[in-house]
Amino acid sequence: MNGHEGSERLTSATPRTDIGVADVLPMVRLCGVSKRFVQVLANDRISLSFMPGRIKALLGENGAGKSTLMAMLAGRFKPDAGHMEVAGQPVDFASPREAIAAGIGMVYQHFMLVENMTVAENVLLGQEGGIMLNPTAMRRRVAELAERFGLGIDARARVGDLSMGERQRVEILKLLHRESKILIFDEPTAVLTPVEAESLFAALRAMSAQGKSIVFISHKLEEVLSVADEIAILRRGRIEGEFLASEVESPAELARRMVGRDVVLEIEREAVAPGRLVLDVKHLSGGGLDDVSFDLRRGEILAIVGVAGNGQQQLVEVVCGLEKPRGGQVDILGQDWVNFFQSRAWKGALAWIPEDRAGLATCRGLNLTDNLLLTTRQGFAHGQWLERSRASETAQGLVREHNVQPGNIEAQAWQLSGGNLQKFVLARELYREPRLVVAEQPTQGLDVAATEAVWRRLLEVRKTAGLLLVTGDLAEALQLADRVAVMFRGRIMNQFPVSDAAQVERIGSLMAGLKD
């Protein structure tokens, strides 16, 4: 796809030496760190160095392993292999407290502040010297700190009265007061207005100029380019490239590098003749969507691709009946939206395979029979009575047919690995014999074998249904889909058949919002 692809294949074992300044000790260093959860390798031999005075962006889609990496830095998980160093000394955090003591500070998306206290009180909470408090001195200390790092804030203000941007500054001040040497920001702009984001970036630069090491986790391309000195791309748990921000020419190039085209798996697909229209979306607008139009026929797979957070979620919620369309027209299986969801049949209609298979598609604490009943209960009910024994037999049959491990239907959902849970969700949703299937990130976090199993099922679905595939994985879209639609800021930038090589080549640009 581009010339860099091969050379960017910097394996995690040999980090680039031209990144960072060689004679300065890295603030924090990860050395071949791996973390495995039951079946998924969330982090695969990751080696990264975080240098003082540098802003490093960690770029990756949801599920690429960013949060696992963070959790290890924060002392919440221990790596299975490899180790971490702080200022050249190997460390092994037994608890988050030790990570904080070692100078690692986190700014999470959800702030941890006491709303009824002032800014100064929040910053100094739990860190005051003696028993007696001196409010004036506390305020002065916090105000000085804010001044020094360009974080304009009134130390006397009550946190409950502050905007999200100001609250974030309080979180940062907390870390600065603890003298954290490395500050890690998890999608810090998600809760900010554009103006607030700008002043955050200014503060990040001020902090890095004073020798702090900044880690900026995001999937927003422009931001990363505007603020970072160095960029590391995380994909499927591995560092897929590490380079200076100045080496990147455009957001489009970054998008290409982030989404990747590396084929981890190839699958044979035969075309299925398109049948009747199953989904017809015309000029859908509102709620983050902007004039979205497309249609989908039986036998077809339409992939919606784009960087997460560009309206895919809102689109799925409308199509799946959670949100009413505000503007435009949505027809499903020949009925308009209102009629379809009023008379929604459990069978032969719509099936939805959501991204959050453990929290939305299944109930963690229920066994597989009950989880089968979750969306098929109408099929096992005689009036108010539920035929549990028949449901159990059906669940057993599905588990066997789809090779869900462990094959025990008494197992609770949380006991299944991600891949097996996804196979189960697919089995359940296909049992409903849907004519329209919506699948969101269906193979996110799955290993190759499970990915293949899921892909095969999705291709099979085409015989009886149309499939709307929402994915951040371009390889997946190109493997499975007949057509691709690229979303950016709630709009469909373009849609085209995957056979259109010229357009496929431009997907990266479209994802970054560039029309030509």
Partner: protein
């Protein structure tokens, strides 16, 4: 060495019983400690407690009588706990049930028992249920936490009961005591066998009926299943198209109705009239019971009996040892805390393990090797 905590893949089996017994023993031990600290004999107190609670035939029957309202209220709150709706209002719903039954008993005092009794139950369940629906509506319409509103409604319910007993319904022949006139014989639940079974009354029958209905509803019906699925959160409910709002109303209404039924049985069988002394906190004990029993009907039956027995025991302790009445609630609280702490071991296994040492060198470093002193 450090502690390694893992989530259990398999349930503990008989270990569950051990955990519960240890927790119970610990709670009683702390109780004895408190007695010793207040200058009484700790072991002596426990001896009195057990003798009074389980020592004699009539105390066993007395406990059973007290267990009836606790069991019914606990079933009611357990229903809402199933779907993570926190109904703390059984006490108020119990009071309203008593008020509803009293209204029926005083208004239709001429009716024979076979007509009056069902009418009383019906009024009690309607009033208790309505009292339960209030927090449900507040939560769904205005987003008010049902924990706060149902708790506050307890006080309003009890005050309403007192207002009526001190006012409109006060028996002129009661010499100023706050109580209504005695119900007609049709409005009183009879004892099963006064000579042999003491105070045990026919209201006991409501327990197996409600218990079986509870089990069947949860395990065999579609609504019961939907209720359990809703307990996993509102988002799942939306995904699976579960009627979340309807189910919140249902569990709060049914829970209130059960507590109301308990209220009507209690006044009709034990005092035969309405008086403020019937409010002794069964509704609060019920919350403890439902939680200790992990919402299972057999567990609720057993725990309701156990806590009722401890109530009987604590009363005797008060009389014989001159300890404050607070010993009853203190004991209940300690048991709850210990069992809740013990339940941690049902979900997680704890073992001693050694953390792996970090490796000394970093492969393929970028200059740090040289820089390290």
């Amino acid at each position: 060495m450090n502690l390694v905590i893992r989530k259990r893949e398999k349930s503990l089996g008989w270990g569950v019983l051990v955990v519960y017994l240890v927790a119970l023993a610990l709670a009683l031990f702390v109780c004895a400690l408190l007695l010793t600290l207040s200058g009484k004999s700790g072991m002596g107190g426990l001896a009195i407690l057990f003798r009074a609670a389980f020592g004699q035939g009539y105390s066993l029957l007395d406990s059973l009588v007290k267990a009836i309202p606790i069991f019914l209220c606990a079933l009611g709150v357990a229903l809402s706990f199933r779907m993570q709706v926190w109904n703390i209002g059984a006490e108020g719903q119990f009071a309203l049930g008593a008020v509803g039954a009293t209204w029926a008993a005083l208004t239709f005092s001429g009716l024979p028992g076979f007509a009056l009794m069902p009418l009383m139950f019906l009024c009690a369940m309607a009033c208790g249920g309505a009292w339960g629906l209030l927090p449900a509506a507040l939560r769904l319409r205005l987003g008010v936490s049902e924990i706060i509103s149902s708790l506050m409604l307890n006080y309003i319910g009890i005050l309403l009961l007192e207002y009526l007993v001190f006012g409109f319904w006060k028996d002129p022949a009661s010499f100023g005591f706050p109580m209504t006139a005695e119900f007609s014989s049709g409005g009183q639940i009879a004892r099963i066998a006064p000579g042999v079974l003491g105070k045990l009354h026919w209201g006991l029958l409501a327990c197996p009926i409600a218990g079986v209905a509870y089990s069947v509803f949860l395990s065999r019906t579609r609504l019961g299943f939907e209720l359990a699925a809703c307990g996993e959160g509102e988002r799942v409910a939306r995904y699976a198209q579960l009627p979340y709002a309807f189910l919140v109303f249902l569990v709060m209404g049914l829970g209130g109705a059960l507590a109301g039924l308990a209220g009507s049985i209690e006044i009709s069988a034990t005092v035969g009239r309405l008086q403020p002394t019937v409010m002794v906190g069964y509704g609060y004990t019920a919350i403890v019971v439902a939680w200790l029993a992990r919402l299972r009907p057999w567990g609720i039956a057993f725990t309701a009996y156990l806590l009722a027995a401890f109530r009987v025991g604590a009363e005797v302790m008060q009389l014989e040892m001159q300890v404050p009445a607070a010993i009853g609630p203190i004991m209940e609280g300690l048991i709850l805390l210990c069992v809740l702490a013990g339940q941690f071991f049902l979900t997680y296994s704890v073992s001693l393990g050694r953390a792996p040492k970090p490796e000394a060198a970093c492969p393929g470093g970028n200059g740090a090797e040289e820089a390290r002193p």
